[in-house]
Assembly symmetry: C2
Homo-oligomer: 137 residues x 2
């Protein structure tokens, strides 16, 4: 049992028109998970609706405007001082070039068949494997 | 693609000391899902942290005090005017008799092996099956 407080984060499996998924690489300057691949999204601000928080975070991180489709699932990150409950949504985005930001130094669009080969952080990797398994059944 | 706005709900798989899970039956007077079994929890109030909302909802519904353990997963309910993104947590509760409220007319504590036989609403039933499958691997 952990005494660390929870925060709510929301991330997304964002697909383009070709069905490829957007992944971002955390820069080595990132305080956490530097060099690992990540899904776009982040912490919800206090009082902010979760869907508005997700749209805002992805616009800040990539410049892309997304349309939320449905719930994909959830996972948890155990961070040094807090725990994040991470709700993960499926989303689409209009064609457009993603840009990187300070937090991420690279982005890629990957096909579904390659998603489970991406080096995500441990908990995110487990989530993605479970997600692909569920989608396959 | 749905135009219905999202709300955030949080529910819990609450276990007692014997490892049994708490389920609640929605009363026939319930506007939605009357007569079906449900997990405790409900909608988060605007501005309310999700974990505080879960603890409050379960106290209101059952009189029980829970301790949140970890994220179990998420699902979605498509309701007449809104969509609910439902984050589901694992939680424990101290021994104590659950009471029912206007929304629920019955509660039961069920063993893990019986959880997939419970007549939950459709989306919750799918979540519970996936959750038990993941726990078994």
């Amino acid at each position: 049992m952990s005494d660390k407080p929870y925060v709510l984060a929301v991330k997304a499996l964002v697909r383009d028109e070709a069905g490829r998924f957007l992944i971002l690489r955390r820069s080595l300057q990132s305080r956490l998970f530097g060099g690992q691949w990540d899904l776009p999204g982040g912490k919800v601000d206090p009082g902010e609706p979760f869907d508005a928080g997700l749209i805002r975070e992805i616009a800040e991180e990539t410049g892309l405007e997304i349309e939320i489709e449905r719930v994909a699932g959830a996972t948890e990150f155990d961070l040094p001082k807090i725990r994040a409950a991470v709700l993960i949504m499926e989303a689409r985005c209009e064609p457009g070039e993603a840009r990187t930001c300070e937090e991420h130094d690279l982005h890629e669009w990957v096909e579904r068949k390659d998603l489970d080969k991406v080096e995500f952080s441990r908990d995110l990797a487990k989530f993605v494997r479970d997600y692909l398994d569920r989608a396959a059944t």
